[in-house]
Amino acid sequence: MSLASAQKKGFGAILWDYLTTVDHKKIGVMYIAAGAFFFILGGIESLVIRVQLMVPENDFVSAGLYNEMITMHGTTMIFFAAMPILLGFMNVAVPLQIGARDVAFPFLNALGFWLFLFGGILLNLSWIFGAPDAGWTAYPPLSTQSPGHGTDFYVMALQLSGAGTLMGGINFIVTIVTMRAPGMTYMRMPLFSWTTFVTSILILFAFPAFTVALFLLMFDRMFDSAFFDIALGGNAVIWQHLFWIFAHPEVYILILPAFGIFSEIFSVFSKKRLFGYTSMVFATFLIAFLGFMVWAHHMFTVGLGSVANAIFAVGTMAIAVPTGIKIFNWLATMWGGSIRISTAMLWALAFIPSFTIGGMTGVMLGAATADYQYHDTYFVVAHFHYVLVGGVVFGIMAGLHYWWPLMFRRVLNETLGKLAFWLFFIGFHLTFFIQHFLGLMGMPRRYWVFLEDQGLDLGNLVSTIGAFFMAAGAIVFVINIIYTAVKGEKAPQDPWNGRTLEWAVPSPTPFYNFKQLPLVRGLDPLWIEKMEGNGKLTAAEPLNDIHMPNGSIIPFVMTVGFFIASLGFIYQYEYPIAYLALYGGMAIGIGGMIVRSLKDDHGYYVRKEELEGEVE
């Protein structure tokens, strides 16, 4: 392979390139694109929800369809929109930020992506055959009794994509442990790399619990085991525990990378070093640690007993402390800085009050006695959208504007960006602020209809109107993408006056990232060099041959195999013929694994001479 591959290629060649790529930058972009697609799906589902709840006793959708809608909306947004987009950012930015040429396991990285994508496709196939309807939490016995195959699709889809996510997590842990550039000590890593690292550790410890939970549900539904079958001594609360042992850390898996993105943005757009870097890192770890100790706050009303409720209540509230450290450090970063309000910064600025409200309602929920009232009402819905949208989605939007030039060599249009922001921001508060009150006024969540004359009409109407503002904002953003792609100006290599290494590579980023690994001399390495008037990094090594991994179609093929096998699992207890799919798919998947391990793949070298010929 030669460097001249940047020439024009046919569509087939490009497709093949993406199907076989192991380049973290391309994988990152694919993650983001697929995640955005699922975000739109989830968003449309949420609009259906809101239209249904616009007026009392509406019958826009049927009760069964409504339950499918909320289940798919929650599952899609969490697992197939927010997570993959964040994983995409990690792929795009982290290796560059730590000065690495690649990730530790490029093959695994590609496999992880495909597993996620086909998991998402599998989940959405269920729209054709009957979608899951037991909520994204899928509590048994409702989920074990749920007729049709919806819940089976839920189980298999999450099993597939969960495996992919776990691979991604392992990959990032190892990448960060072993592949940092010379001089890039842990305490010099940019905060986004740090949060990626901690998030990956959370993934590592949280997902296996979910894997087990899903297996138990799968066995109960497909193979008649008795984990949740009360008649045979089963215990449905086990699911609740396993699910939340996973799902509480999961919400921090979502928010920590967003915190990382904001940390980068606040620092860059205030032209100031991140205030209290060390305590930021420490707080990240503390959040992760405490995050594993509080899952039962989702179960205050289950009847675990007052000792358990008291312990978990106090543990939950404790998380306010490290999170508060972060909020105040961001404020202090801005304080005394020189603040430029670009669109990326605008999203970050909007995050602070929005997320603080969401976090504070979280602490209110953590007060167990009060949660007896809040639990499973719209107050909770309001809480988690404030953190999920006001935290995670705002983080994603900020990250998209910030790293767009890195990914696509274009700067997103600022005017359209700001318009999209204001529409979305106003819509967001309109939609969700009032939901706090709906909850307190007696509206439980997951309600297909609410009754007339219960004082809930106005609130719900306002909420629905807000949702359409959000949709308008999202559409303007899509327009911005198209506009920028067609008319946008070429981005300079370092459009924001960046501080970290991803802005030190030429644009477009060469596939080997760094011709010579950079020598890192402190936190914010690029900034240091700029301040010393170098403007560019010293190399840590002489120019040499670069070892790169070969692309491979195997991850894709394996995933297709497992995808087919999943369909086989789902239909196996009705149609014996599905065993064909089950075994056939498994054979393809495992066959891919065997080929991969038997065929030596030593990668290839980019020769020194070729590199010398490259112009900067």
């Binding site: 396991f105 392992i170 592949m179 984990f227 089963g234």
Partner: protein
């Protein structure tokens, strides 16, 4: 240009599994993976602990478990852990043939373990009618022990594939890390078994 993965016998002090960058990655990667496996098995154990008395009128642990077979299985698996240590010892001495020999013994012991387990399950099913579907206890038991058994099967396949694949090529810096990561994985399977025989079988036997 291709990578040079051949061993330098003069530099014996360098652990062949950790010389190359890929080797180091594999090594850390497997450990990280084991961290996740810990939680996987923790979840299974916790589920089992919650359900171990939910027999729903079906057979209980006291009625069906027997010490002898479990003891034999334990010895087989523990010994296989030692033999894999021997194999790695020979790897560090760059002695490929002995390494293969000891890994061969490891595989043999592992297969013995599996045979016992299959016999055990068959025995429960045919003699006691104790199945995966009998009760929540049955589901939890077969799932926990079965997951471990599944790990043994994966380990065996991995080992045999490695041994066959590399039989003709000898030890080099490309495959040494693979053997090494396998050995780590194998020890971990042993660790899990130590908890299984303690928590499931021994604790299930005391009245």
């Amino acid at each position: 240009m291709s990578h040079d993965y051949s061993l330098n016998p003069e530099k014996l002090h360098e652990d062949p599994a950790k010389v190359t960058h890929e080797g180091k990655n594999k090594f850390i990667g497997l450990w990280v993976f084991l961290g996740g496996e810990t939680v996987l098995f923790a979840s299974l154990f916790a589920t089992y602990l919650a359900l171990k008395n939910s027999t729903a009128g079906g057979p209980s642990s006291q009625e069906i478990f027997g010490l002898e077979l479990v003891f034999i299985m334990t010895m087989l698996l523990l010994t296989s852990s030692l033999t894999s240590v021997y194999a790695i010892y020979h790897m560090k001495n760059h002695n490929f043939r002995k390494m293969q020999l000891w890994f061969g013994i490891t595989a043999f012991l592992g297969l013995g373990f599996l045979a016992c387990e299959i016999y055990e399950f068959a025995h429960y099913i045919t003699d006691y009618g104790f199945t995966f579907r009998s009760s929540a206890f049955g589901s939890a038991f077969y799932t926990l022990v079965g997951f471990h058994g599944g790990h043994v099967i994966v380990g065996m396949s991995w080992l045999i594939a490695l041994m066959v694949r590399n039989a003709k090529r000898g030890l080099n810096l490309y495959n040494a890390p693979k053997y090494n990561t396998f050995a780590l994985y194998w020890h971990f399977i042993d660790v899990v078994w130590v908890f299984i025989f303690t928590v499931v079988y021994l604790m299930g036997m005391v009245s």
